[in-house]
């Protein structure tokens, strides 16, 4: 194990080296600018897009549209997924009813459904939100159900013998015990939601970061493609950090030694 200081140095050195190599490759024309623009070109394009927008629309409208789609779908998915997961975990009959339908659609990659959803719900908001919702919901539901199952039988019995009613056992014991799994589900679902978002925006519409990427590539504005990618990456990073930060407060007992 390297010392903390040299560890940090290594962590920071590797991206710097990559950047330098990238810059060198473009500077000495090892690659064509249209395939891989220089870092400085991308920086300038980013500044241009931030100040003057893209395709006549402010970049914050593109960002806002994407965020709205992903947040609506994610929040709906969290609510429905947690509820369904709890019900399936608590009631074997409900689980039996849900089992086959959900197991049938689960292995299908959500991207395969995008054309179908566009056919059914058009190219507007509904199909984009629904496709994200459907997949994120599956992930949250399955993790929540696993969380319920993770509560040991003895813990439930102990709580009953301490005087908890069945409702109190659920609300005070089983539900909190399932939270660490729920949080894992939410994180996975969020990452998936962002990637499905971009894919669904690539396929149609004139707003959103996915649209920026696909439109820019159509017109060989490669630097703008990178701008879209960078912005989506930043949003993903910030969203995951925010979720982890909140989750640590809620499941504060996890990892405590």
């Amino acid at each position: 194990m390297p010392s903390p200081r040299s560890h940090l140095a290594l962590v920071l050195a590797s991206p710097l080296m990559l950047l330098l190599a990238w810059d060198g490759a473009t500077r000495f024309s090892l690659v064509e600018q249209i395939l891989l623009p220089a870092p400085a070109t991308i920086g300038a394009a980013l500044w241009d897009v931030l100040t003057r927008g893209y395709a006549g629309v402010s970049v914050f409208v593109h960002i806002g549209t994407s965020l709205w789609r992903v947040l609506t779908a994610f929040l709906l998915a969290a609510f429905v997924g947690v509820s369904l997961g709890l019900l399936r975990g608590l009631y074997p009959r409900i689980d039996a009813v849900c089992l086959v339908p959900f197991e049938l659609i689960r292995p299908i990659p959500p991207l395969a459904f995008i054309p179908l959803f566009i056919l059914w719900f058009g190219i507007g908001e509904v199909s984009k939100v629904l496709i994200i919702f459907y997949y994120a919901m599956l992930v949250v539901m399955l993790n929540t159900q696993a969380g319920v199952a993770s509560c040991p039988e003895d813990k439930i019995r102990a709580a009953r013998s301490l005087g908890a009613s069945p409702w109190q056992v659920f609300w005070r014991v089983v539900f909190p015990a399932s939270l660490p799994h729920v949080v894992v589900g939410l994180r996975v679902a969020l990452a998936a939601a962002l990637s499905i978002l971009v894919a669904s925006e690539l396929l149609g519409g004139d707003r959103g970061l996915g649209f920026v990427i696909s439109d820019a590539s159509t017109f060989f504005k490669t630097a703008d493609v990178f701008v879209g990618i960078v912005l989506i990456g930043l949003i993903g990073l910030i969203a995951d950090r925010a979720l982890t930060f909140t989750a640590r407060r809620i499941v504060h007992w996890e990892g405590k030694t």
């Binding site: 040991p152 003895d154 813990k155 019995r157 102990a158 709580a159 009953r160 013998s161 301490l162 005087g163 908890a164 009613s165 109190q168 005070r172 014991v173 909190p176 015990a177 939270l179 499941v251 504060h252 007992w253 405590k256 030694t257």
Partner: protein
């Protein structure tokens, strides 16, 4: 919710168990079997009883019935004359592995029972702190379960049950996962608490030494299906010192228990394998 009448500590009129021809069935359909067969016994209020028996003989099942988690198929099981139907804080249970809530600190874990009864926060915290002193964990109220050693976790587990002033304390190999030294300390602590509170205790164990050191009486069970094969009165006077374990009368009683537990030829139970080939209870 029935009877929340509280009793003063040290009041030994309550806690009498009567079991009369109890049969307990487990499993579903074709796999159903009798885990406990025709068990009858009486425990006077305030007595310390150990149940000793080979693995899988139905000890936990019997304890589950006393706790009200499993209903007997036949027979009567009563506490102070009232049939046991469903779990109740009057009958507290402690398992081999702690069942503390990792999201609550020690004080709030212990205050769980009072909280379920709707006792206000200040009062239930006062009750929790009082019990914490009793079990010698006064300074640990703000710790979380994961920050405690195994022995401390079991002490908190016991405290969480005692705060409800149970008439009956059910313990399923509560010290089985602890190291030998901690286990001895816990045994002495339990006897100390019991001397002060005088609740009835039914304590399950594999360990003959533990049973003979703790109990007024030892009920020995046969391999599956579980029946009570002997009801041994433990004559050693109290307070007991840890050294009695090494004295001849203790050894004689221990050998007797060993004979009862050793699988006989012709029974269909498989002896557990141990690395030295010794019978599992001869440690």
């Amino acid at each position: 919710m029935s009877g929340h009448e509280r009793r003063a500590h040290g009041h030994a009129e309550q806690g009498r168990i009567d079991a009369e021809g109890v049969f307990i069935r487990l499993g579903q359909g074709a796999e159903a079997f009798e885990a406990v067969q025709d068990v009858s016994f009486t425990v006077p209020a305030g007595e310390f009883v150990c149940v000793l028996g080979p693995s899988g003989c139905g000890k936990s099942t019997l304890l589950g019935a006393l706790a009200g988690h499993i209903a007997p198929a036949h027979g009567a099981l009563t506490l102070d004359g009232a049939a046991i139907s469903g779990p109740h804080p009057d009958r507290g249970i402690v398992f081999q592995h702690h069942t503390l809530f990792p999201w609550k600190n020690v004080r709030d874990n212990i205050a769980f029972g009072p909280k379920m009864r709707g006792i206000p926060k200040a009062e239930r915290h006062r009750q929790a702190d009082e019990i914490l002193e009793l079990i010698g964990l006064g300074g640990f109220a703000g710790r979380y379960p994961k920050q405690l050693s195994g022995g401390m976790q079991q002490r908190v587990e016991i405290a969480r049950v005692l705060v409800n002033h149970p008439r009956l304390l059910l313990m399923d190999e509560p010290f089985g996962a602890l190291d030998a030294l901690t286990r001895m300390m816990m045994q002495e602590l339990l006897l100390d608490i019991w001397t002060r509170l005088r609740t009835t205790i039914v304590f399950i164990t594999h360990d003959i030494d533990e049973a003979l050191f703790l109990a007024d009486r030892v009920l020995v069970m046969s391999p599956r299906p579980g029946r009570i094969v002997e009801d041994i009165t433990v004559p050693f006077e109290r307070p007991r010192r840890a050294e009695i374990v090494a004295e001849p009368p203790f050894g004689r009683l221990k050998r007797h228990c060993l004979d009862l537990l050793r699988p006989r030829p012709g029974t269909d139970t498989l002896p557990r394998l141990s690395p030295l080939g010794a019978p599992p209870h001869a440690r």
